[in-house]
């Protein structure tokens, strides 16, 4: 890795790297993202490495460990070129066959192929799998091209060409104009027009300015930013470099949440390599532009995803938000003008500069342009990270990409936007993924989390879950957030435990409105959304809890009963053995019975029973 002093050096290096790539005609791509790692992909990687050595193919086969491919449910994932062959659920034991049969002889191992859950057919390539075909993977598709620990890979596939274009031919005003015209809006949740943010910072007085990448992705159930930062950190750094050039900043920070050690590692490595090659530091690529980046870790606080709290944390203080009567683009980090953008927002910048704003704006709707990465999880067949064009209906995402419900239960709702968002019922699934439309409907795109719920989810419990989360994460400074969320939780807990009254619903709505209007920061201001959206669309569930003292989904412990269906029970005794509260009695081969007084509804018997005899009502 030598230093690239000029744009010409970069171009020469790129050409050489492309030639080097042609030397090996076979490539085996293995996903090393956190999801596949949890499924032991590292063991697969080690096994393949060993096999390649043993079968003396290590010189002709390129083994590339990449970031996340998005289809985490099917991990560990492997793609083999040539042929774009897609293998899933790979184990270390398969390594020998993969190397000797597929790599050496081109033979496909049927059992490792993906099976279409609807048709039962085996599918050979990634581009034929419905999960992938319905997506528009502008950002995610790059992950398989590069090893996130190698800046050479990034350069080889065209990285930093956008920065070269900026240095060669674009002024700060032109860059900002391009971003404005593209219609790019913040991907972290706020959806604020990025071009306008940059323009305001550019115009703010002062020589010392900062750019920050917000990788404090705290929404539970969302891991898009982790995937981009782990899998392609250079894309983010290139975006930040362009942004710094545009507003006149010399220093940038990537603030990564503490719970993402791999993302921190890859980001730090990427910064180091960029410095070594001269793509960060003084006089980048022979221009007079200097810029450097530091990677900082969060301490474990959701509230630090809020821009002023994040800046406080960078300054070494507690993550307490500040009032934003003066915006952070004027008075931000160290009271200097600062632009703070989300990982995905930064990742979109190079393509906008390279291909032009119109290309980006050609996708999406009038108010929401480009593509959005969503973390599709919950009670559907295909879960993972997906990228779709803005304007795609929720229905497409849930059914065409997500594959519909698991276990034959009916899908009931989708929760979007994390704890700041809301729940939308099935009859709203024709709504598009669009900032303004979802906001009007009482939810939001947010950072992109999309959790699908079926009839086994209780919507009152969902509201309770989010309130509990927010209560835990609130910084506690201001009264409406600290006491308001607490009281809302108190009321919802009453409702889930059978003590609710209809007057409490009115109080809940009044309180929710106050918390929304008077909280100091975004956490408090959006804290009431889960409550308000579930009240709006699932009011009957609240009423059933209050008036009938029943939980239709069978979740709220105080309102349900575990019982054994005597017709299904075979008397095998597994539940009785497993029950830690001695609540089950029965003779061998006779139907067993659960004692309601002793039962604590812990769910162990339910997970042990192989005959589906345990009922929850």
């Amino acid at each position: 890795m030598q230093k690239l002093a000029t744009r010409e050096d970069l171009e020469t290096t790129r050409r050489q790297l492309l030639l080097d790539r042609k030397k090996t005609d076979k490539t085996i791509i293995i996903c090393g993202g956190t999801g596949c790692k949890a499924s032991r992909s590292q063991d697969v990687i080690d096994a393949i490495n060993q096999e390649l050595l043993m079968q003396e193919m290590d010189a002709t086969v390129n083994l590339r460990v990449t970031g996340c491919h998005g289809f985490c449910e099917q991990g560990p994932i492997m793609v083999i070129e040539p042929g774009n062959i897609f293998y899933c659920h790979v184990t270390p034991d398969d390594a020998h066959d993969i190397v000797s049969r597929t790599l050496r002889d081109g033979e496909i191992i049927e059992k490792l192929l993906y099976t279409d859950p609807v048709t039962g057919e085996k599918i050979r390539t990634e581009s034929e799998i419905p999960f992938y075909t319905a997506q528009d993977r502008q950002l995610l598709s790059r992950n398989r091209e590069i090893n996130p620990c190698s800046i050479d890979d990034y350069i080889a596939v065209g990285g930093y060409m956008a920065l070269v274009k900026v240095i060669d031919s674009l002024s700060p005003e032109e860059i900002i104009h391009e971003i404005k015209v593209s219609g790019l809006r913040g991907r972290g949740g706020g959806g604020f027009p990025t071009g306008r943010k940059w323009a305001e910072c550019y115009e703010a007085p002062g020589d010392e300015k900062y750019v920050i990448c917000n990788a404090d992705e705290g929404d539970p159930g969302a891991y898009m930013d982790r995937c981009v930062l782990e899998g392609n950190p250079y894309l983010v750094i290139e975006g930040m470099t362009i942004g710094a050039y545009a507003v006149g900043a010399k220093k940038g920070y990537i603030y990564v949440r503490n719970e993402y050690p791999l993302a921190v590692k890859h980001a730090r490595l990427a910064v180091q390599q960029a410095r070594k090659t001269g793509l960060l530091g003084e006089d980048i690529l022979g221009s007079s532009f200097s810029f450097d980046v530091e990677v900082a870790r969060g301490g474990g606080a959701f509230v630090c995803g809020e821009s002023t709290a994040l800046m406080a944390s960078l300054e070494g203080k507690v993550g307490e938000p500040r009032p934003k009567d003066v915006h952070t683009v004027v008075d931000g980090l160290w009271h200097k003008p600062t632009i703070l953008n989300n990982v995905e927002t930064w990742a979109n910048v190079p393509a906008i500069i390279l291909n032009g704003a119109d290309s980006f704006a050609s996708k999406g709707t009038k108010g929401s342009k480009g593509t959005k990465i969503l973390a599709l999880t919950g009670r559907i067949k295909n879960t993972g990270l997906v990228e779709v064009a803005m304007g795609t209906p929720i229905r497409t995402v849930v059914f065409d990409i997500g594959g519909g419900a698991i276990n034959g239960k009916a899908i009931k709702a989708v929760q979007t936007g994390g704890p700041s968002g809301g729940c939308l019922p099935v009859d709203k699934f024709d709504l598009p993924v669009d900032f303004d439309v979802l906001y009007e409907a009482g939810s939001m795109v947010g950072s992109g989390g999309m959790v699908v719920m079926d009839e086994s989810s209780c919507m009152v419990d969902v509201a309770k879950y989010f309130l509990t989360f927010l209560q835990d994460e609130s910084c506690g400074m201001c009264v409406p957030c600290r006491l308001g969320i607490d009281r809302m939780l108190e009321i919802i807990t009453d409702i889930t435990e059978g003590r609710g009254t209809m007057e409490q619903i009115d109080l809940l709505e009044d309180l929710a409105d106050t918390v929304t209007q008077t909280s100091l920061c975004g956490l408090g201001k959006t804290a009431a959304n889960p409550v308000l959206s579930t009240l709006r669309y699932f009011r009957e569930e609240y009423e059933t809890h209050i008036n009938d003292k029943k939980c239709p989904a069978g979740v709220c412990k105080a309102l349900i009963e575990y019982s054994i269906d005597p017709e299904k029970c075979t008397g095998c005794g597994r539940c009785k053995q497993a029950c830690i509260h001695d609540a089950i009695s029965g003779e061998k081969k006779e139907p067993h019975v659960i004692s309601p007084e002793l039962c604590q509804k812990c769910g162990i018997c339910l997970s042990e029973c192989k005959h589906e005899a345990i009922q929850v009502k």
Binding site: A301, V318, P323, D325, Q471, D472, E473, S474, C475, G476, M477, C478, V479, P480, R482, L483, G484, D486, R487, E490, L507, D510, L511, T514, Q517, T518, S519, L520
Partner: protein
């Protein structure tokens, strides 16, 4: 040399020193905006949210705390709209439900129009207004008190529970604390908390002439700056 800007608060055109907050300017002029965590001379953090006002720009109004809002030329502020009254009422209700055993907070609740409390009473002995913490840090720079923990666990504590090391025994924390002003009839028994409302008679005078200070004894409860100033004069 002091620079002045002109602001419009509730229709009154006021000349205000640049750098001062809307709350300070309003109280000085006699427009009483209820507040709790603000103490003249200490920094403002906007924690209690009682001092909220509506800031009107281009026909749109934004709710924000007047203690953290610095005056700017041409600013238009409304302190007592129906919307603000209702929001302030709800915040005061939350406060008094949390800590009814303080006259200051009872007074504030009544001043903000709370007639009944819709939540079960709790008996906290701290509302986290931060007056003690800021006094300790900013007056004698002792830093013997501070906020510790987060969210529901947030509380005021001495560093590692050691008092002697840092405390300068100035007693400001005790003087400023709203909880050290017991209700007129003494502390309430647990389970028997109620909204006192005895100072309600004073409220009518203030409502009739909203633009001027009634020297309403309610100020005694939360150490209203104006009350303290007027008391000194009289």
């Amino acid at each position: 040399m002091l620079h002045y800007v002109t602001v419009n608060i509730d229709g009154a055109i006021i000349k205000a020193p640049k750098g001062s907050s809307v709350l300070e300017v309003a109280i000085e002029y006699g427009i009483c905006i209820p507040h709790l965590c603000h103490v003249p001379g200490l920094s403002d953090i906007g924690a209690c949210r009682l001092c909220i006002v509506e800031r009107v720009t281009n026909g749109r109004s934004q709710v924000t705390t007047s203690c953290t809002l610095k005056v700017q030329e041409g600013m238009v502020i409304r302190t007592n709209t129906d919307r603000i009254k209702r929001l302030r009422h709800n915040i005061a209700e939350l406060l008094v439900a949390e800590a009814p055993n303080s006259r200051a907070i009872q007074d504030i609740a009544v001043r903000c129009g709370v007639k009944k409390v819709r939540y079960p009473f709790r008996n906290s002995n701290c509302v986290l207004c931060g007056r003690c913490v800021r006094a300790c840090a900013e007056i004698w720079h002792a830093n013997a008190l501070g906020f510790v923990g987060r969210g529901k666990n947030r509380h005021v504590e001495r560093p590692l529970n050691m008092r002697e090391e840092f405390c300068k025994q100035c007693d400001y924390c005790i003087q400023l604390c709203p909880m050290t002003i017991p209700p007129c009839d003494g502390p309430m028994k647990p389970g028997e908390e109620y909204l006192c409302g005895k100072c309600e008679s004073q409220l009518m005078i203030t409502e009739e002439v909203p633009d001027s200070c009634a020297w309403c004894r309610l100020g005694e409860g939360f150490n209203c700056g104006r009350y303290a100033g007027l008391k000194a004069v009289r």
